[in-house]
Amino acid sequence: MKYITKLGGEEREFTIERHGDGLRARCGETVYALDLALVGDGATFSLLVDGRSYDVVADVQREQVLLQMLGERFVVHVEDERERAAHAVAGHKQGGKRELRASMPGIVVDVKVEQGSEVAEGQTLVVLEAMKMQNPLTAETAGKVTRVLCKKGEAVAAGALLLELE
């Protein structure tokens, strides 16, 4: 199976398959011998890459893999080849519909836009307060606000839909 991984601005493609007792991964010219074992608690893995050992915690949420390894934290986006193909089709159909969701539970202290507002990339849309700090939520790309689903003073849960944009 082919996997397209993205981290920050970088992208790598790995082909992974069973090979003997372990796995074999290829990325361009480079070939890795992998041995990946699930540890008892269900989300920790022992990964051996060419005999080098890594203790990995992986929280796999569909295409997003939240990793803890080497004392670091990585949010890696991983699509397999079938998913990539499916997305290419879906992308055409959906157009540019986007959502703004609460990144954490908190109180909405300000809504800076209204329905129909044209917004620029990076513009602050909503300000959320949590843990004594105010956190501006900004537009990922330029667009237009199509629906406003929160109001000032309201308490929202993590992941709550705040705005729809296109």
Binding site: L7, F45, V76
Partner: protein, 509 residues
């Protein structure tokens, strides 16, 4: 049961302590009290019913509410709980009521020993302008500037005298709020008006003072301990320059930039200041250190978050000292410090954006082995809520020297795994691995200059690991789907199925 084996020597008359706090510091106090054979009474908000400080205390009293103002900050409720449970002392921890003179007074009025200084000392040191005055009188060096509220008429001349760049600070401020730096005379007036307005808005008090802006300052503080008989000692220094928005992230002791002479001068200055306000208990005097000179910053009239750094080097239990002193005993002799200590604060926050991170702790691996101490009220299943401070844990290490302590801290940081919320651990690791920190030659700007991006080789590995875990998950889900088809049941969507397998695996006896 706990007091089955009281010390036979000189046992203090403190038999039961109300711990007016939550989180790791409440647990810290409970641990020492338990070791001294003293009972503890925890207080708790609705959100904290199953918190570790409640479970580990001898007794627990519900205060109600979730907001601090309804619980941990409500002096009346807290003191009433102490009286109702027959406590003879109250430990305020840090934050909440720890630097509240009314709380100290309320304890005195209720006949309960407040394990901290007298209300007057809290009040004096809590006011920046007053504190500077007293420090000056006690001969403690100050950053050149005006100790008084500045008015517009004297402003320009004063700034010229002190020398640019200068800083305008809210008298009632703290935690870095209401500070403005002015580099040239022409910016001065506008900055002054804005500082006044900000101070008014933030603290309801528009007094502003002016002082020299110190270049490449290090934040170095002295730990003192004073008894009721006039005895004052100090336990060396802590270097706390690794901070952002004036929130400390990494602390160490000793400070690499301090000579024995300057250390002795700083220690003496801190003790002199404590004596000037008849200080009792644990306190910290903060200084700026720049080019071999030090200047008084402020005094914190409580136990600091970072006190374990001092404990590990001096082999002392500062909470035990606080309790002993509260019971009327004298300060203990200070042992020779040994080796080097480093503390890392672990906050629930996104390491890239510094946004707070909330959620439930689903997995936890704690570090162990030689020279590692973890102070935390974390447990698996803990819900990190928006009601309280975001600090989850303090990792403290000790080594024979600075190099070994840094290496040990790195090692322990890699062992510590918190799953369910994001934490500041990667930022701490990057700091420890930076050339600037390793050189020992750093200042309070170190975190701003830090490159927080993981090295390329690690990013590559992470991408490979992510792809491999997805492969394994898909393979297992496939096997499961094949199995349920074979048994005639419908195959569930692959992610759901996989989750279920893992859950069943986990709950197997």
């Amino acid at each position: 049961m706990l007091s089955r084996y009281p010390s036979t020597r000189n046992m203090p008359p403190i038999r039961r302590i109300l711990v007016a706090n939550r989180g790791e510091i409440a647990l810290r106090v409970i641990r020492t009290a338990q070791e001294m054979g003293i009972e503890t009474v925890a207080v708790y908000s609705d959100a904290d019913r199953t918190a570790l400080h409640v479970r580990r205390a001898s007794r627990a009293v519900h205060l109600g509410g979730n907001k601090p103002s309804e619980s941990y900050l409500d002096i009346e409720k807290v003191v009433a709980a102490a009286r109702a449970t027959g406590c003879d002392a109250l430990h305020p921890g840090y934050g909440f009521l720890s630097e509240n003179e009314d709380a100290a007074q309320a304890c005195i009025d209720a006949g309960i020993e407040f394990l901290g200084p007298n209300p007057k000392a809290i009040l004096l040191m809590g006011d920046k302008v007053e504190a500077r005055k007293i420090a000056m009188q006690a001969g403690v060096p100050l950053v050149p500037g005006l100790q008084e509220d500045v008015d517009e008429a004297h402003l320009v001349q004063a700034a010229k005298q002190v020398g640019y760049p200068v800083m305008l600070k809210a008298a009632a401020g703290g935690g870095g709020k209401g500070i403005r730096i002015v580099r040239e005379e022409k910016e001065l007036l506008e900055a002054f008006h804005m500082a006044r307005a900000e101070a008014k808005g933030a603290f309801g008090d528009d007094r502003v003072y002016l002082e020299k802006f110190v270049t490449r300052p290090r934040h170095v503080e002295i730990q003192i301990m004073a008894d009721k008989h006039g005895g004052v000692v100090f336990y060396g220094e802590r270097e706390c320059s690794v901070q952002r928005r004036h929130q400390k992230l990494v602390e160490e002791s000793p400070c690499a930039a301090l000579t024995p002479e300057v250390r002795a001068q700083m220690g003496k200055a801190a003790c002199d200041l404590a004596r000037a306000v008849n200080y009792v208990g644990a306190g910290t005097v903060e200084f700026l250190l720049s080019e071999g000179k030090f200047y008084f910053l402020e005094m914190n009239t409580r136990l600091q978050v970072e006190h374990p750094v001092t404990e590990m080097r001096f082999g002392v239990d500062l909470v035990r000292e606080q309790i002993r002193i509260g019971a009327g005993e004298r300060v203990s002799p200070v042992a020779e410090p040994r080796g080097h200590s480093i503390e890392v604060r672990v906050n629930a926050e996104d390491p890239d954006t510094y946004f707070p991170s909330l959620g439930r702790i689903t997995r936890l691996n704690l570090p162990g082995g030689p020279g590692v101490r973890l102070d935390s009220a974390l447990y698996r299943g803990l819900e990190v809520t928006p009601y309280y401070d975001s600090m989850l844990a303090k990792l403290v290490v000790h080594g024979e020297n600075r190099e070994q302590a840094i290496a040990r801290c790195e090692r322990a940081l890699r062992e510590l795994r918190i799953v369910g919320v994001s934490t500041s651990l990667p930022v701490a690791l990057r700091t420890l691995q930076s050339d600037e920190f390793r050189s020992g030659d750093y200042d309070t700007g170190i975190l701003e200059r830090l490159d927080r991006k993981p090295p390329a080789a690690r990013r590559e590995l992470a991408m490979l690991a992510a792809a491999a875990t997805r492969f394994l998950f898909a393979e297992r889900a496939g096997a499961r789907a094949a199995e349920s088809t074979a048994t005639g049941r419908d195959a569930a969507p692959r992610w759901a199925t996989l989750g279920r397998i893992e859950r069943l695996r986990r709950s197997a006896p």
